[in-house]
């Protein structure tokens, strides 16, 4: 346009003027549309006489079904902080957008959801809208629960409404500007909430697989952590189960990119989900621990269904079984290895790790894995390995489980980084991780 000699100056000016009006108009329309999607009505509080267990009769089987669904959905992982005060909320969840606190979902009428009718509860699960009409933050995975069947929503409601009512006001969130303005979530919902996308069984798969697929998607929300998220914090559906992150840990891919060196069986997956331990593979650590703490209370058949579904994705992944089954301890670095970290890392491995992780130490170490089998060495980045070395693996209170001491104060940052670099090359035999030292530094931050 600028080079068009036939275009007089005043006409260009006029065009710009008109464009400004068009843009303004479009913005106003967008704002109106924004308001329309942001505003959600409050739903009537249910009368106090209907709050709580006494007034609403739920049959025991429905409540029990709700209990199992709550376990499958790991509700308590976020909504319970103090085990003596179940579902009272208060967990701080650090997100890229700020810190969000979980809320009280006990039937307390003032501070919990006692005043929520079942339609209000269903709307929160399906659409992420609180009873009073404000939009919930998607740290609460309603983009998954939206697929939940009506009778499962009813059972979950029955279970929560029959829990002890606890007084626990919500902790104020601290979100970065402008995310403190809740109506903005409406735009996120346009992009990521597929509420009309009702969950449908896949006729080519078994009944058990379909059961697992439904539970994984609509209840257990596996994809919320195991799928990467977009810059806007939505599940990146194009890369379903391709590995994500949670609380600073790498969350392994469950699809063809699963980093596991050894193939998993469905039985091993089921055992891992129910107990946190899979022979020859892994012990649950980090955020997965709280999932296991919940799943052990679920119906074992449902957990096996989940395992069947996960297995159908994981079996597509290539393996490195020969390396993982090597019947030797990890070797010393070769003389030609120019990376100075290898020698230091090998010394740390030999003097600190091999006591338990060397072959033949299984009996005396509570079955510590030979490290060529440890999946953390095969991850695309060193975050989970660094977390395990630094914090160890602590079983939940009162539960028998695998245990590893924390080495965070024992090893220097440099030793930890050297160990990670060494284990990656001589344990997993993979290309080096970049920026291990940065990951070690970051892992130390709260």
């Amino acid at each position: 346009m600028d080079h068009d000699p036939g275009s007089p100056h005043h006409s260009r000016h006029h065009g710009a003027h008109r464009l400004r009006w068009v843009v303004m108009g479009a913005l106003i329309l967008l704002a109106l549309a924004g308001c329309a999607i942001m505003w959600r009505p409050a739903l009537e509080p249910q009368p106090a006489s209907r709050s709580g267990a006494a007034a609403q009769a739920f049959d025991a089987a429905t409540v029990e079904r709700g209990r199992q669904l709550a376990a499958l959905g790991s509700c308590a992982a976020c909504h319970t902080v103090d085990p003596a005060r179940p579902f009272a909320g208060g967990l701080a969840l650090a997100t890229p957008f700020g810190t969000v606190y979980s809320t009280n979902i006990t039937p307390d009428a003032r501070t919990g959801i006692g005043a929520w009718s079942e339609p209000a509860f269903a709307r929160a699960l399906r659409e992420g809208v609180s009873r009073d009409g404000h939009l919930l933050y998607p740290a609460f995975p309603y983009d998954y629960y939206t697929h939940m069947k009506a009778d499962d929503v009813h059972a979950l409601y029955a279970y929560l409404m029959t829990r002890p009512a606890l007084d626990a006001p919500a902790h104020a969130n601290s979100l970065h500007f402008p995310f403190g303005f809740r109506p903005l979530v409406a735009f996120w919902n346009v992009l990521y909430l597929k509420k009309d996308d009702a969950w449908a069984p896949d006729a080519r798969q078994s009944v058990e697989w379909n059961r697992g697929a439904y539970l994984a998607d609509a209840v257990a929300h596996c994809g919320a952590c195991h799928t990467p998220r977009t810059k806007l914090g939505g599940t990146d559906v194009k890369r379903y189960l391709d590995g994500g992150e949670a609380e600073g840990w790498y969350v392994p891919a469950l699809n063809a990119h699963s980093p596991s060196p050894l193939p998993w069986t469905t039985e091993q997956l089921a055992s891992y989900l129910r107990t946190g331990i899979a022979t020859d593979h892994a012990a649950a650590g980090g955020p997965m621990q709280s999932v296991v703490e919940n799943l052990r209370f679920a119906d074992p058949h449902d957990v096996t269904a989940l395992a069947t579904w996960v297995h159908s994705y994981m079996e597509k992944a290539p393996h490195d079984a020969a390396r993982a089954r090597t019947a030797d301890n990890l070797p010393a670095p070769v003389d030609t290895d120019a990376d100075a970290r290898m020698r230091e890392g090998h010394a740390v491995y030999q003097n600190a790790c091999a006591r338990c992780h060397a072959l033949g130490r299984s009996e005396s170490s509570g079955a510590a894995l030979p490290l060529q089998k440890a999946v953390a060495l095969y991850d695309p980045d060193p975050r989970s390995l660094i977390h395990i070395v630094r914090d160890g693996i602590q079983p939940p209170n009162g539960e028998p489980a695998r245990w590893m001491p924390a080495f965070g104060a024992i090893l220097t940052d440099r030793q930890t980084a050297a160990l990670a670099a060494y284990l990656r090359r001589y344990g997993a035999g993979r290309d080096p991780w970049d920026h291990i030292e940065d990951s070690v530094r970051k892992a130390k931050q709260p």
Binding site: V348, A352, P405, A409, I410
Partner: protein
């Protein structure tokens, strides 16, 4: 066998030992510092707790080869029977030891806390002392001893010479 130079309670030591020898064994067997105790050997009980720079560690898990130039501090460095340190005196005054096997570890764990936080709350004390176990069950006295030591230190150096720290804190 390798030669290692260690700095323990401010003094240099040289030991010849295997690289994977736990620091605990070096302290007890080579340096005759028997304050830190062998409890479980797995990092689960805390009887062997010592300070490595500014962090409390279970010395049974620390291979001597990783210590390097970091300063090791043990209960022997805090005071003597005639002139006990603030924490040691608080443990005596609260009669916090029954069999005493865990106490050196408890005191070193508490050392870390009092260096990090001048006025810890009772909840912070409980949480911080959690890794260390006492099979006699004197936990309540141990918590009181840490409280007493924290109050003494908080009240300032003037009160650290007074024999009853809580009275000193009120003065």
């Amino acid at each position: 066998m390798t030669t290692f130079n260690l700095r323990v309670n401010g003094k240099p030591h040289t030991v010849d030992t295997d690289a994977d020898t736990p620091l605990l064994y070096v302290l007890r067997n080579d340096l005759q510092m028997n304050g830190a105790k062998f409890g479980c050997g797995l990092g689960q009980c805390g009887a062997c707790t010592v300070m490595l720079d500014d962090a409390a560690v279970m010395s049974c898990l620390v291979p001597v080869s990783v210590v390097g130039e970091r300063a090791v501090r043990t209960v022997e460095g805090l005071g003597t029977a005639d002139a006990p340190g603030v924490l040691q005196r608080a443990f005596i005054e609260e009669q916090a030891a029954q069999c005493g096997y865990c106490i050196a570890g408890m005191i070193m764990r508490a050392t870390e806390l009092l260096e990090q936080s001048a006025a810890p709350t009772d909840d912070q004390i409980r949480e911080h002392m959690m890794p260390n176990l006492c099979r006699c069950g004197t936990h309540m006295r141990i918590l009181r001893a840490v409280r007493r030591a924290a109050d003494t230190m908080h009240a300032g150096p003037g009160s650290s010479t007074s024999s009853t720290s809580s009275a000193g804190a009120k003065a």
